[in-house]
């Protein structure tokens, strides 16, 4: 335990520290992008994206092997993952636009289809004598222990870019998430803004594969914003809390998994986030479950005691309410 505390307080080596900061930025970017995905009701599409990245991971590995002699090349694998994820999104969109299938069915079909292709490619790669193929399994469950400095820097840099772009477009994203028709009526290019949100989500999922893993990367998009929503009615506060929860959970998760080599990073990060969600659900003021029970109770008690204030009927001029 002393070891863990040491690591969390920046006592680990340079490598470990850098990996933890990279993970924290990744978690922050997840909370940011996830907030808009949640409010645009696109949270589930991130699951389709993540599963659809697997063929791209395998093909990226092959391309990297042919080009450099080793498949271990994160930039090329991220590019492959993003391209393959984009194909997945396009497939979902095409099915939605051209058939009568509902979006959830389209997502389920595309997600499992792409994932199956990826698994086949991956097991085929495992059988070949290629440098770096051992690291491929790490993309399924996430592994920071083996992450290099360059890889951590790449992830941190892209995560930071996602946060900066989202902050610049914050107002426009908010408008499109709340009322896309109105946004279009004042001349905002809704398609482009939706595409920008989707693009940021794609990049986030692709850089999240290495640390969190394909299967659980959806969690860093959905859980922090969902937990943050319990605490506030304001978007700016919700996004701030989601960023904070995402960063802290990824930081702790990466630290725990660095301290104990056999703990899978992704699962630990998501467990921390799950705990944050459970606490939010229960104890958040106003929107929390306990607060709701207490409110009803205290109103009943006040009513029984005759201390509940009677409703007033103020005069507001033309508008009577």
């Amino acid at each position: 335990m002393e070891n863990l505390l040491d690591i969390l307080l920046f006592g680990g080596g340079y490598n470990t520290r850098l990996v933890m900061v990279g993970a924290a930025l990744l978690g922050a970017a997840g909370g940011m992008v996830g907030s808009f995905a949640l409010l645009r009701k696109r949270a589930l599409i991130s699951d389709a994206i993540s599963h659809a990245t697997l063929p791209g991971v395998a093909i990226g590995f092959l391309v990297a092997f042919w080009l450099t002699g080793s498949g271990r090349n994160l930039p090329i694998i991220i590019a492959g993952a993003a391209l393959s994820g984009a194909l997945g999104v396009l497939a979902v969109q095409w099915i939605k636009d051209n058939t009568r299938l509902a979006e959830d069915s389209a997502i389920g079909t595309v997600l499992s289809g792409f994932f199956a292709v990826g698994i086949v490619l991956l097991s085929w790669l495992q059988g070949l004598e290629m440098g770096g193929r051992a690291g491929l399994q790490g993309f399924l469950l996430g592994a920071v222990a083996t992450m290099t400095v360059a890889e951590a820097e790449l992830i941190a840099g892209l995560a930071l870019a996602i946060v900066v772009v989202s902050l610049l477009l914050f107002k426009e994203f908010k408008l499109v998430c709340f009322d896309p028709d109105y946004a279009a009526s004042i001349g905002r290019p809704v398609r482009f803004l939706d595409l920008a949100m989707m693009g940021l989500l794609l990049i986030l999922v692709s850089i999240g594969l290495k640390a969190v893993g394909l299967i659980l990367v959806i969690a860093i998009v959905i859980i922090p914003p969902a937990a943050a929503r319990f605490w506030t009615e304001r978007l700016s506060v919700m996004v701030t809390i989601a960023i904070g929860m995402g960063a802290v959970s990824a930081y702790i998760g990466a630290g725990l998994s660095a301290a104990a080599d056999d703990l899978p990073t992704g699962a630990v990060i998501v467990l921390v986030q799950g705990a944050m969600f459970a606490v939010s659900l229960l104890v958040a003021p106003n929107r929390g479950a306990i607060a709701a029970v207490l409110r009803t109770r205290s109103d009943r008690r006040a009513y029984a005691a005759g201390t509940l204030a009677e409703p007033d009927m103020p005069d507001r001029g033309r508008y009577p309410e």
Binding site: L169, L175, F178, D179, A184, S185, I186, T232, Y319
Partner: protein
């Protein structure tokens, strides 16, 4: 046969706040608006009426470019809509958004200023003051900080109205602004629309309730996929036009005389 712009169609009226020719929209190959010609008068409140599925909402969306046109032309004071965005304000149907969204009434009204603020600008104290003034105009100044999901249906409707007022536009397109509000609020919203009209703005309102059209509005456009009639409410709501638009469904409820006559 697909309707083409016909030679006998009168040209676009460049002075009209809204002028459309041969407006045609389909959903999934099914026409919902067919060859519509219309010139909105410059003065007076305008109602768009017609049965369910007549294309009333689509008419507003088509004029705003929110749905793809299959054919036809839309002009605002003779110019394409894209050049006139800062002169048009749209009030969508209340049910079209999720009111659980984490925003206050003031946040939503401030969206009416986004056009002026621009992409990278921020909502400043000055903008918030303007938004609060618009909330006050619809009697909601006390509710500025309230999360929009905790407002009543009528209050939500007025938040949308205030957002459009904040745009300070020339042409207002409103989709059922009276839907789900009580009688007193309906009167109050109407009074606000009359104020706009008196200030020289054009107000076009999709309206569901035939009983109040003649009382509330000066002009009407009667739709049922095609244009059935338009003009002053007295002209546009003639028994003949209403029967064409609504068919037998209306006869007993709204046209007892007509029904008796057979």
């Amino acid at each position: 046969m697909i309707a083409q712009p016909q030679p006998h169609r009168s040209p676009i009226d460049p002075a009209a706040p809204l002028s459309v020719r041969d407006l045609t929209v389909t959903y999934d190959r099914k026409p919902v608006l067919w060859g519509l010609d219309y010139d909105a008068p410059a003065k007076g409140l305008i109602a768009v009426v017609g049965p369910n599925g007549a294309g009333k909402s689509t008419f507003l969306k088509a004029t705003l470019g929110l749905v793809p046109l299959i054919g036809g032309t839309v002009r605002i004071f003779g110019k394409p809509v894209g050049e006139m965005r800062d002169r048009i304000a749209y009030v969508p149907q209340r049910e079209s958004v999720d009111w659980e969204f984490p925003a206050s009434a003031l946040d939503v009204v401030a969206m009416g200023l986004y056009g002026k603020i621009g992409w990278l600008g921020r909502v400043t104290g000055k903008h918030k003051k303007t938004a609060l003034e618009q909330l006050d105009r619809v009697g909601l100044a006390d509710f500025a900080d309230r999360q929009i999901g905790r407002l009543s249906g009528g209050q939500q409707q007025r938040v949308f109205l205030a957002r459009a007022l904040a745009q300070d536009a020339q042409v207002y397109l409103m989709d059922e602004p009276f839907a789900g509000v009580d009688a007193a609020t309906e009167r109050a919203i109407l009074a606000t629309l009359v104020d706009l009209q008196k200030a020289g703005r054009t107000v076009i309102v999709v309206h569901h309730d035939l009983d109040t059209v003649a009382e509330y509005f000066d002009h009407a456009l009667v739709l049922n996929v095609r244009k059935i009639g338009d003009g002053s409410v007295a002209d546009a709501l003639s028994a003949d036009i209403l029967r064409q638009a609504y068919g037998g469904r209306l006869a007993t409820a709204h046209l007892p005389d007509l029904a008796r006559a057979g």
